[in-house]
C-alpha cells in the first residue's frame, strides 16, 4: 500500500478497528515512512486532546429540576379534563346548555319550516283563509280564465302570495288547527259539506291525489311530480256531488264521467284521476270549454246531485295561467251515505 492508502486507515488503526493483517501492514509501513508516522502522531494528539477535555458536571439539582417540570406537566389537566372538570359542576352545566341549544334549534326549525317550504314553492293559489277572507261573491270575469296548471315557482304574484299564506297560517294557528297545504285551503273555499271537511281535517290528505300533506310540500323530486303540479294549480270551479253509485263501482262512475267530459269537449287530467281510497271519494280535475259548462252540469246531474258549486275568487291572483276559452273544474263525488263515525266538521264561516 502507498502512503495515501495507509493514511486513509490511520483513524481505524488508532481506534483499533483493523484486523491483524491490515494492522501489521500499517505498522510495517510506519516504521519505514516518517511522513506517515508524523501524520499518525498528529492525529493521535488531536484525539488525546479531545479525550483530555475536562468533563463538566450538570448544575446541582439538575435531575430534581427536570422531575419538578415533569410532575408539573403531568399534573396539568389535559384539554379534555379542563373541559369537564370538576365533573360535578361542569357535566350538568354542559348537559343543560346542550338541551337548551337543541331545544332552541328544534323550535326554530319547526317555526320556520312551513314558511320556508311555501316560499320555496311560491305557488300562486286562491287559498284565502275562511277565517280572514270572505268567500267570493262575484263570478270570475270570463275574459281571463286560467287555462293550464301553473308550474311550481311561477313568479308574478309570488311575494304577495307568500305573505298572504303566512297570514293564513297565523290565523289558522290561532284557531288551533294549522294546516300548511293550499289544497286544504281550497277545500275550505269549496264549502264542502260538514262531514267532508271534517274528514279532510282528520286524514290530512290532498283532495286531488289523496297524498299526505307532507308530500305535497314537495321538496323531493318523486314520480308524482305531475300530480303535484296539478295540486298546485287552483281550479276555476269546484263541484261537489253526492252520488248513489256503490263504492265498488268506481270504474263505472269514472267511465261515465269520462263520457260526459268527452261529449262536452273537455279533457280529464290523468294525474288527478286518483281516488281517495280511504275516503272513497273519486276526484277528477278536468278542462272544459266554457260554453259547454251548462250542458256539462246537466249531464252530470244524471250521475249525482250537485251539492256545492264554488268559483274561484275574483280577488284571487290569476294562478299563472293564460286566459283562454276553457275552464278548469274539480269534481268530487261523495258517497250518498255519509260515514257514521265521521267527526263533526268545524262550522263553515258562512
Amino acid at each position: 500500500m502507498n502512503c495515501d492508502q495507509i493514511q486513509e486507515h490511520l483513524s481505524e488503526y488508532l481506534d483499533k478497528r483493523l484486523d491483524d493483517p491490515r494492522r501489521r501492514i500499517i505498522e510495517d509501513h510506519l516504521v519505514s515512512c516518517p511522513l506517515c508516522l508524523s501524520e499518525v502522531k498528529q492525529l493521535s494528539d488531536g484525539i488525546k486532546g479531545v479525550r483530555g477535555l475536562p468533563e463538566g458536571e450538570p448544575p446541582a439539582g439538575f435531575s430534581q429540576q427536570v422531575m419538578a417540570r415533569i410532575r408539573t406537566e403531568a399534573e396539568k389537566p389535559t384539554p379534555w379534563e379542563r373541559l369537564f372538570r370538576p365533573f360535578r359542576i361542569k357535566i350538568p352545566l354542559h348537559a343543560t346548555a346542550l338541551l337548551l341549544v337543541v331545544g332552541l334549534a328544534v323550535y326554530l326549525y319547526r317555526a320556520n319550516e312551513p314558511i320556508q317550504t311555501e316560499r320555496a314553492l311560491s305557488v300562486p293559489t286562491e287559498a284565502a283563509s275562511p277565517l280572514k277572507r270572505p268567500p267570493p261573491s262575484d263570478p270570475e270575469p270570463a275574459e281571463a280564465p286560467p287555462k293550464a296548471f301553473a308550474p311550481a315557482g311561477v313568479p308574478p304574484s309570488a311575494p304577495p302570495e307568500a305573505e298572504r299564506l303566512q297570514e293564513n297560517k297565523i290565523a289558522a294557528r290561532e284557531a288551533g288547527r294549522l294546516e300548511s297545504s293550499d289544497s286544504r285551503d281550497r277545500a275550505l273555499m269549496a264549502r264542502a259539506p260538514k262531514q267532508e271537511t271534517a274528514q279532510e281535517s282528520k286524514s290530512e290528505t290532498n283532495p286531488l291525489a289523496g297524498a299526505p300533506l307532507s308530500d305535497s310540500a314537495g321538496s323531493r323530486p318523486t314520480a308524482e311530480a305531475p300530480l303535484k303540479k296539478a295540486q298546485l294549480s287552483a281550479p276555476d270551479i269546484v263541484l261537489t256531488l253526492i252520488t248513489n253509485a256503490p263504492p265498488d263501482k268506481k270504474e263505472e262512475l269514472t267511465a261515465r264521467v269520462n263520457e260526459i267530459v268527452a261529449r262536452s269537449g273537455g279533457t280529464i287530467h290523468p294525474a288527478a284521476e286518483k281516488d281517495d281510497r280511504e275516503e272513497a271519494r273519486p276526484h277528477f280535475l278536468l278542462d272544459l270549454p266554457k260554453s259547454e259548462y251548462s250542458r256539462f252540469k246537466t249531464e252530470l246531474a244524471q250521475i249525482g246531485e250537485i251539492i256545492s258549486e264554488s268559483q274561484r275568487s275574483p280577488n284571487a291572483p290569476p294562478s299563472g295561467r293564460k286566459p283562454s276559452s276553457t275552464m278548469q273544474i274539480e269534481l268530487t263525488f261523495l258517497p250518498e251515505k255519509p260515514k257514521e263515525n265521521a267527526p263533526a266538521a268545524p262550522p263553515h264561516p258562512n
Binding site: G52, P54, F62, R69, I70
Partner: protein, 200 residues
C-alpha cells in the same frame, strides 16, 4: 439504581413517573457534556439538557427497547442541539466557549484531587491545551465536531453513532477520519510549536 435502563424505562411507561429520575441521573452527565462542548455555553447546555429529558419523558411510550436508551437519548440531544445552534447562531456559541468568565465558572474536574496537584505552570499549560482543542473543535463543521465529540469525548462506538446519526457505518468511519484530519489541521501550529519547544 439497580436494573437496566430498559427496566427503568418500562417502569416509567407503566406510570411510575419517579422512575424517570434514575434515568436522568444515569445519563445527565454525558448528555450535558456533549451539549456543553457543542453549544459552548453552560447555561445553554443546562437548558438544552433539561429539554432533552423532558422530550424523552413525553415520548417515552414510543421507546420500544430496540436500541440502547442512551442512543435514543443522544438522538434527542443532537436534534435539540441543532435547533439551539440555529437559534443562537454559531458565532455566538463559539465566542461563549472561549469566554474566560465562562471557563472560570466551569467546575475544574481536577480541583478535588489530593495534594500535591499540578504546579501552576503545568496547570496553565493544561488549560491552554483545552482552550486550543475547544477552539479547534469550534472551527470545524457542525457534523465534524459532533462526530468527534460523540466518538472521542463520549466514547460512543461507531455502530451506535451510525444509529444516532442514522448513517451507514462506512459513512461514520470516513466522516470521523475527515473530521480528525480537519482538527489536526486546526491544531497543527499549536502542536508543532509544542513539539519544537519539547525538542529545544
Amino acid at each position: 439504581m439497580d436494573g437496566t435502563d430498559w427496566e427503568w424505562v418500562q417502569r416509567v411507561q407503566n406510570g411510575e413517573t419517579d422512575a424517570f429520575e434514575i434515568l436522568i441521573q444515569r445519563h445527565q452527565k454525558p448528555i450535558f457534556n456533549l451539549l456543553y462542548r457543542w453549544l459552548g455555553d453552560r447555561e445553554e447546555a443546562s437548558d438544552a439538557a433539561q429539554e432533552v429529558f423532558l422530550a424523552a419523558y413525553r415520548a417515552i411510550r414510543e421507546f420500544r427497547g430496540d436500541a440502547l436508551f442512551s442512543t435514543w437519548l443522544y438522538r434527542i440531544a443532537v436534534n435539540q442541539a441543532i435547533n439551539r445552534r440555529k437559534r443562537l447562531g454559531v458565532d455566538q456559541a463559539r465566542r461563549a466557549a472561549l469566554d474566560p468568565i465562562d471557563s472560570a465558572e466551569a467546575p475544574d474536574p481536577l480541583a478535588d484531587l489530593p495534594h500535591p496537584g499540578p504546579n501552576p505552570a503545568q496547570e496553565a499549560e493544561r488549560k491552554e491545551t483545552h482552550a486550543r482543542i475547544q477552539e479547534g473543535l469550534n472551527g470545524l463543521k457542525e457534523e465534524e465536531a459532533l462526530i468527534i465529540l460523540l466518538h472521542d469525548l463520549q466514547e460512543v462506538p461507531y455502530e451506535e453513532i451510525a444509529r444516532i446519526l442514522k448513517l451507514p457505518l462506512g459513512t461514520v468511519k470516513s466522516r470521523l477520519h475527515r473530521a480528525r484530519l480537519a482538527l489536526k489541521a486546526k491544531l497543527a501550529d499549536y502542536f508543532d510549536v509544542g513539539a519544537r519547544a519539547d525538542k529545544g
